[in-house]
Symmetry: C2
Subunit: 321 residues, 2 copies
């Protein structure tokens, strides 16, 4: 990175909002803005608005000629093709050549990947994974995503879609139905919606008291479970134990694949801290093959959640070509 181009732009595309920011080499967000993603049925209109707003931000910050590259994190983003492919939560159907569309508008190199990969790159560039060459990033949000780094490089696989660890099947028999149409996926148990579902299952099957019973059962969220757990609610604590156990078992298998130095957790559920960390570690230790035992750290992301998505995407901008 030369001093004449000291900044990158990060764009995080979510189903509801698109957030973008100008970022320097230390990971400081100089300025940021956002537009509504779901206001635009046509991707061309979306790109027009994004161009207008981002260009305004660049001008305001005297940065129009200072951008090394633009990085984009998007659901179902494909790094090899710079496309968003069949993203169920975005308004645009089919395959969207977004990186090319943005390059055409800005005249700046654009690199695009999926949101979990962007998070991993962000963590490697600015966060908890600085200096790590082998780690796995697990994003625990509405879904469960992952970005895998091996020997200092993101694992993209032959088609750019590697690293869907939320859709590893962890319960081969009688598993829960997952949003992907299969059963028993990690995501069906350990996403925010998976935790809420565990709560409903526990409450329906069992009789022990819990402050969660004051909430209409269909309205219970993972946040409610957390709130109950920190007051010491036994059933809520057991929900975290159950969730952590499934994560820890899955992590033990991931370790046998790439033998990472660390597994880094990010997203809503990661905020539960020791409530989720303790059962994860216990299950991981119990299920990890001897040669790996005690070698793998479980860490939380060091990036502020509100900034992490933009920072992650922006990190990709440094290597855009």
């Amino acid at each position: 990175m030369t001093m004449s181009k000291p900044y990158v732009v990060g764009i995080d595309i979510g189903g509801t909002n698109t957030v973008f920011g100008i970022v320097d080499a230390r990971g400081t967000i100089i300025a940021s803005g956002s537009i509504k993603t779901n206001k635009f049925n046509e991707v061309e209109d979306y790109v027009n608005e994004l161009h207008t707003e981002l260009f305004r931000l660049l001008e305001q910050n005297n940065a129009t000629d200072k951008i090394m590259g633009i990085g984009v994190g998007a659901p179902n983003g494909n790094y090899f093709n710079g496309t968003i492919e069949f993203a169920p939560n975005l308004p645009w159907r089919g395959v969207i050549p977004l990186a090319q569309m943005l390059t055409d508008r800005f005249g700046i190199p654009v690199s695009l990947t999926n949101d979990a990969n962007a998070a991993a790159i962000g963590e490697m560039t600015y966060g908890a994974a600085r200096g790590l060459k082998d780690f796995i990033m697990i994003t625990l949000g509405t879904g469960v995503g992952s970005g895998i780094v091996v020997n200092g490089q993101l694992v993209y696989g032959h088609d750019g879609f590697a690293g869907e660890l939320g859709h590893v099947i962890v319960r081969p028999n009688n598993g829960r139905l997952c949003g992907c149409g299969r059963t028993g996926c990690l995501e069906a148990y350990t996403s925010a919606t998976g935790v809420a579902r565990t709560a409903r299952e526990f409450l329906e099957v069992r009789n022990d008291p819990s402050s969660l019973r004051q909430i209409p059962i269909q309205d219970i969220t993972s946040k409610d479970v957390y709130d109950a757990a920190i007051t010491g609610d036994k059933l809520a604590l057991e929900i975290f134990d159950y969730t952590g156990k499934i994560l820890g078992e899955a992590f033990a298998n991931f370790i046998a694949f790439s033998s990472p130095k660390a597994i880094i957790l990010f997203g809503g559920l990661a905020k539960a801290g020791d409530l989720i960390l303790k059962p994860i570690k216990e299950a991981m230790d119990r299920n990890t093959l001897n040669i790996y035992k005690g070698k793998v750290k479980i860490m939380f992301s060091e990036l502020k959640e509100s900034d992490a998505a933009v920072l992650g995407a922006s990190a990709l901008g440094w290597e855009a070509k």
Copy 2:
């Protein structure tokens, strides 16, 4: 590889025999030899004998000054350290700095890795994986091993021990006891001994006729199951279906990790051909996430089994430093 050093040496260390060969750049084994591994309680004596015999072979073939490097495949071999660490099936305890010991004796660079990784490198250099940048090698023998290639590079992980896919836990509940001390590992079901165990379980629990009942139950091997299956024995065929299903389910999860272009099978069980391939493919297709469906080939190794171990190890010799 310069023409002045047109050969490499491959050494495959097994629990019983050590086989070595001089190999050219096309993967032709110019000459080979072997010594007994388990005859030597002291690794120093073993290295002396290996040096004597290999040096003799080099002299006979006028190749003493023509070796680019020596590659070694060994159980529990660590690529980073050039060591064999706590190998349960070898006579030597603890950590053996074998690469250094051989370099000292031969004055030639030596590179060492585990046997399954060596097989993957062999397949990439001379076999079915030529030109592939993302694939997984699965060795189905007495145990189940794996070598994972991502973006053209072997995955070693932070400690050199990545890729123990035989010890991914595929049955988290009530799984079979594995040689590693845990339960439910892929190896416990799909190794040669795992298949024999399935046969015993099926024969004990069920009453349907099978030619396998003519063999004393404790003596049944995976070879017996194969022999019965090719004559159309229904129970034997079901044993292959059962084994293939577990492999296919596991492969679907591996695909979500590294999205390989191919999974390559090697070893005794791979010789069963369609008997094992068909149930693998069915279970894999049924369990693979949509975005990967139809993209991943299952292939058999293209290396002759008797040569593959030496070829695989030798391939490492080209990059030894």
